[in-house]
């Protein structure tokens, strides 16, 4: 299941959904709005997305992770709009019979999401200024890698 939402993420409900007797291991990852980044203070984050494409990319990540690690459950929720300090911008829950698959899939999902899903973060700093964050990485997909160096 993938979801984009402007509401707070209910990670308890996601864990409950994944915690079933078929799964020996349940992993939850939360990306949380951090107060301090490289010495600067954040007031809040705002997330924008290319909505239809982000949903398709997230669904593709879910599908790929389920196949690669034989997951029993794979839930990815990304929040959009304002995300106050201490609240989650992203939640990933994976469940699998054994724990190593859960750790590997969870880390791959967040790493890949950050590389390929068209969602953007705007830092609103405590001093009143703001910046769109556009990290120095190529968007990760096969065609880009070969043609857009």
């Amino acid at each position: 299941m993938i979801q984009l939402t402007t509401f707070p993420i209910d990670s308890d409900a996601l864990v409950r959904q994944a915690q079933v007797p078929a799964s020996g291991a349940v992993l939850l990852f939360l990306g949380v709005t951090r107060q301090h980044t490289s010495g600067r203070e954040t007031a809040e984050l705002r997330y924008d997305a290319y909505h239809e494409m982000a949903e398709k990319e997230l669904a593709a990540l879910e599908e790929k992770a389920r196949q690669k690690w034989h997951l029993n459950e794979c839930l990815i929720v990304h929040r959009l709009g304002k995300v106050p300090l201490g609240e989650a911008s992203v939640a990933i829950v994976v469940a699998s019979p054994h724990r190593h698959a859960a750790f590997a899939a969870g880390e791959w999902l967040i790493d890949t999401l950050k590389m390929s899903v068209p969602i953007w973060k705007e830092e609103h700093w405590a001093d009143g200024s703001s910046d769109w964050i556009h990290p120095e990485h190529d968007v990760k997909h096969s065609q880009a890698t070969s043609t857009n160096k």
């Binding site: 953007w120 973060k121 990290p135 968007v139 857009n148």
Partner: protein
């Protein structure tokens, strides 16, 4: 041909629009779109050099033909998560 290009994040701020229209020659490819955008919106240049394009919600490469009808989007480096 005239095509609409969706703009997001800093690209939207730089152009002041969530969608811009550019004039392209027939049979244009993504590389031509990039050049046309840069000449129309010089302020986009730093971001364009690092942006990708998507056509109908799929990442395109430089050789992908720009369709006459279809959803075209400029994708600055993403920062979700």
């Amino acid at each position: 041909m005239r095509v609409k290009v969706k703009m997001f994040a800093a690209a939207r701020d730089a152009t002041g629009a969530s969608e811009v229209v550019v004039e392209l020659p027939e049979l244009a490819r993504v590389r031509d779109l990039r050049i046309a955008l840069e000449s129309e919106y010089p302020q986009l240049a730093p971001l364009l050099s690092r942006a990708m394009f998507a056509i109908n919600t799929h990442y395109a490469d430089e050789d992908t033909p720009v369709p006459l009808a279809g959803e075209i989007a400029c994708i600055p480096p993403v920062s979700g998560g």
